[in-house]
Amino acid sequence: MLGTCRCVAVLAALALGITPVAAQTPKGTLVFASGGDADTLDPHFILERPDVRVSMHIHENLVNFDQNGELKPELAESWSVSDDRLTWTFNLRKGVTFHDGTPFNAEAVKQSFERILDPATASPRRSIASVISAVKVIDEYTVALITDKPFAPLPSQVSMFNLAIVGPAAKTPGADYARKPVGTGPFKFAAWQVGEKITLVRNEAYWGPKPAIERIEFRVVPEDSARVLQLMSGEADVIANVPPAMLPQLKSSSAVKVIQETSFRTVLLGVNNKIKPFDDLRVRQALAHAIDTSSLVKGVLRGIPKHGGGIEAPDIPGARKDLPPYAHDTAKARRLLAEAGYPNGFSTTLMTPTGRFMNDRQLAEAIQAQAREVGIDIKIEAPEWATYNTLLNKREVPLFLSTKGNPTGDLDLTMHLVAHSAGQMNFYNWKNPKADQLIETQRGTTDREQRYALLSEIQQSFYDEVPAIVLFYDAQLYAARSNVTGVRVQPNETVTFTHVRKN
């Protein structure tokens, strides 16, 4: 009954969408519709994209990436490293205030870093800050970050959204910072109607060029088709996660435009290397050969994403571009399975989120059908997102559809999280002592080429041992009304509305 009701609702919306009702949003307001609501706006606790998109308009980092992927000053005007490569000194911007009026200075930076580093804060992303052993206030506008061992990628590390500078308000007990964030950014937090929308208003006291728009509304519209309809009718100005199948339609309309950008995100079929029979390399190879990734890209994703075999997306500096996808070869897959002692295949479980990334559920079903060809019988489980994450963190699921992005654009971040045996995102239970050692070694290597050579070796062993089967590299598909200009989408998945104008 519920099903029919919702379908009727969608059909009704469809009818409305066809009629040329131009429900224009007010000129000073930008309405952005995406599939999921944020969980928290406290940078030290953020794990998900919907949270990042909002938080990065409220908070700022010491340094950040510009549109060309180059590091640029943000709250720090300049920075330098000591000769022993253990002390990073940041000269801070003067005359900046937090949204509640408290001044931004070295003390605020120190408090912010110490907050995420404090085990009592219980930040799930503490490991990202943990390379920093101490924060020293040198004077009002100079601060030093000190590491125990040389850590070459520190400037890009502090551009990570988890290391954004939170206001001193975060320290106040019972402040509920996750719901009332106070940053230095171009927009201030205004209201949050959970499950519906988050509203930000322009920060009139912003230190930089003031945004042209006065308000941003981050609306939650879970249904793909509903989001597209809202854009077509003008109820939304920008939408995220356009379904690939709808691209031709949107491209043919003059009222809207598609914003397509490559992504540092890899979509993969994770394999738990500890669970039988996947502890056997031959079984993992067999699965890799059973899956026809090129038909997944073409059939399920309309040929939009990039295709390849390396764990890191080829657009990330230092990523291997020469690793091809495992060839689709069912005969070889069967032979490998027989060698491993499974001539008749086996049954296993694949866990997938629904609607979290591009066509996830359909991908799972297509993989299920392809694996059946070589005798691997896959049962799909599609739990709620929260349950999915809990199960993933327990590392007890044999197969899972998953993704990994790279917010800092430095391979160290994800190699450490994903490939290190102690990595917080090593859901594959992959243990390779040599890779662990290489990860540690490259951290202290300042020479870029040398570092990339070490990182390249890690990527090679990840490829050879197939702890996960790389399916493709995500593409970011946004769409906007044609009168909206200045939406900045970066390969590291940062979306900025600060420069938006509505004509």
């Binding site: 009954m1 519920l2 099903g3 029919t4 919702r6 379908c7 969608v10 059909l11 469809l14 969408g17 249904e223 793909d224 088709s225 597209v228 309809l229 379904p243 199948a245 709808m246 339609q249 026809d292 038909s295 997944l296 073409k298 059939g299 399920v300 629904t354 066509n359 559920r361 359909q362 799972a364 079903e365 297509a366 299920q368 059908a369 392809q370 049962k379 799909i380 489980e381 599609a382």
Partner: protein, 306 residues
């Protein structure tokens, strides 16, 4: 099927209301048939349901493709000569999926109702027949069960047992039990006072035999009518739960699940929701019409209007 009253048994009741005991069953059937046709839409409804039953039985012969076979080179094809109902997002034939889906939906409805009957009717009959404290305790428990909104209860059950088609059937059956229990109890209460039951008691007929031979056949008619209605409601509920991802799991061609995955493509490939949606509507519509005919036919009050 033992404790499920048959059509003839029910017709027997109708006849029994007017004629003396022992009226020929054939006569009863004839009356049933005449009454059944008084509802002009009952026959078309019945035929519609029959058509779905036949499709379900002969699904392998009717389906033109393997309902699970992916063809990633031919996704989201509109209805055409090769695929009469088009193909879905993974290139599977929608016609074949709808055809196989009839099996799932019909069994959802029938199995859930049969389970609910098997549990609910004995509970209600015992409560009504025994009466007193037993009745009170049983009926309060049933009231508790009834206090939960149906779908909510089903969702709660599934969250404990895990999503699967069978668990959905169990959940739907569970929340249908109180309906049959109340109905059976009410009918039993009124039948209990009839002279022939008193006669049984006076003759020392064992209780179980009285229940089986005399009470059950005489309360069968209203239960049967409601059962037919509940089949339709159960099909709807089960597909709703599958739509929400709680029931049939991929790649199962369950209609509700098909609607759920097809709705993402409603703007570019509406055939993905139209055909399974139409199948649900037609089947449930047919069942409702049929049930209406059944109601008129089995209602003793309308029997007099010849």
């Amino acid at each position: 099927m033992n404790d499920i009253p048959s059509f003839t048994a029910a017709a027997h009741v109708v006849a029994g209301a007017n004629a003396a005991e022992g009226t020929a069953r054939r006569n009863g059937l004839a009356i049933f048939w005449r009454q059944f046709r008084r509802s002009q839409l009952a026959l078309p409804g019945g035929l519609l349901v029959l058509a779905f039953v036949l499709v379900a039985c002969f699904a392998p012969l009717i389906a033109t493709h393997d309902p699970l076979k992916n063809d990633l080179a031919r996704t989201l094809m509109p209805p055409g000569a090769e695929n009469w109902f088009g193909t879905d997002e993974l290139g599977r034939d929608v016609l074949s999926r709808v055809v196989y889906g009839a099996r799932l939906s019909l069994s959802e409805g029938l199995v859930a109702v049969l389970l609910a009957l098997a549990a609910g009717v004995p509970i209600g009959v015992v409560a009504g027949y025994v009466g007193g404290r037993t009745d009170m305790i049983i009926m309060r428990l049933i009231d508790v069960l009834m206090a939960f909104p149906g779908v909510l209860l089903a969702i709660a059950i599934i969250s404990v047992l895990g999503p699967s088609l069978f668990n959905v059937i169990l959940a739907v059956a569970l929340y249908t039990i109180p309906i049959f229990a109340r109905l059976a109890r009410g009918a039993t209460l009124s039948v209990k006072e009839e002279p022939y039951i008193e006669a049984c008691r006076a003759l020392g007929v064992p209780h179980l035999r009285t229940l089986w031979r005399h009470v059950l056949p005489n309360i069968a008619a209203p239960i049967l009518v409601i059962a037919a209605l509940r089949v339709a409601i159960s099909i709807l509920t089960a597909s709703s739960l599958s739509f929400l991802g709680l029931g049939a799991q991929p790649p199962s061609p369950e209609w509700g699940a098909m609607l759920a995955s097809g709705r993402n493509y409603i703007l570019i490939a509406p055939h993905l929701v139209i055909f399974p949606g139409l199948a649900i509507v037609l089947l449930v519509f047919g069942l409702n019409l049929f049930q209406d005919g059944l109601r008129i036919a089995l209602d003793p009050k309308t029997t007099d209007l010849r």
